[in-house]
Symmetry: none
DNA sequence: TTTCCTTTCACACTAAAGTACCAATCTGGT
DNA sequence: ACCAGATTGGTACTTTAGTGTGAAAGGAAA
């Protein structure tokens, strides 16, 4: 909808959208955002193409912009995809029953991730940056985590988590 | 602007770009390969452009191919860059004597006492009460302790203290 | 005695952590 | 399709934590 209103003047542009979205059909919101970003960029370039004489500058310039943009986008996507990976690895390190304890205390995945970074001495802002979340979200997670662990501070949470063997 | 509106719901995206580029910076070979892959693809497309009539299919198809390719490339880069994360922290693991380490870092008795209580998750006020000291004194001790351990927060102090074997 | 370190504490300030409440979206089952 | 839990965020607020500066008292060593 948003896209449609922005580029309404270039109907032939829409041919590219289904192509982009095709590859990611089974996926969810992030992919939708990906397609959207792609569409927007294409629209922008298309717009510039008519506005200025980019065609005269050569198609290479055109492609380079797209290439760089989507590389960055890809790196970002890659970083996002690897985050849940580390959690799995970390939770499998302990030979005990960390998973059982997490379930016992009703600690969710995200909460555990936050807990792990807390234990490494990271600040809420740092955790937010590393997980690509907002500071408020980290605060929410940590508050919920504290109530589940029945503690009041992050240092207590780390201490208790280690004592019950989930860290 | 246009792009920002499209991904507007996730402003963290833009914060992640410098992060991604930061990890990317020290890797010279990867950048070289990146440029090479880019050049090869551009050449290939250029070649196809003359060989067949891709231009008639529209610039969108052209761009879509490039976009998808470099997204995949970016994801690959992202995956590669996130792996050597945990190696860095393992460098300071010197399992040694506790007393020797205290001397090594110039940590005094009181500071160590404070550190121990910190590790148990106690607040500054609680520590002050337990040691019959004022809150300000605890703050002074902890500030000095942090500078000696070269950390900025109590959680980091506890983490580092454990890693160097004084806790 | 002088010097250095430790320990103690104060005040004023900034930064971070944490609480409370709310709400939208997403996800996994039933 | 609906629902419970998970995830993500926001606002406004209170509480701790941490910094910078200064200072006083005691002990140990030169």
């Amino acid at each position: 909808m948003l896209v449609k209103r922005a580029i309404g003047s270039n109907p032939d542009f829409f041919r590219s959208i289904p192509i982009a979205l095709f590859y990611f059909y089974p996926m969810k919101k992030s992919i939708l955002l990906y397609g959207l970003a792609m569409a927007v960029l294409l629209a922008l370039l298309k717009f510039l193409q008519y506005k200025y004489l980019i065609r005269d500058l050569g198609i290479e310039v055109y492609l380079t912009i797209v290439a760089v943009f989507f590389t960055v986008l890809g790196i970002w996507a890659g970083l996002k995809l690897t985050n849940p990976k580390q959690v799995i690895q970390a939770s499998e390190e302990k030979a005990g029953d960390p998973e059982a304890m997490l379930a016992e205390y009703g600690i969710s995945n995200r909460e555990f991730e936050v807990l792990q970074l807390m234990a490494k001495g990271h600040s809420n802002q740092e955790i937010a940056d590393e997980l690509f979340l907002s500071l408020n979200t980290i605060k929410t997670h940590s508050t919920n985590l504290f109530s589940k662990l029945d503690v009041k501070r992050r240092t207590q949470a780390v201490d208790k988590a280690k004592s019950i063997g989930i860290l």
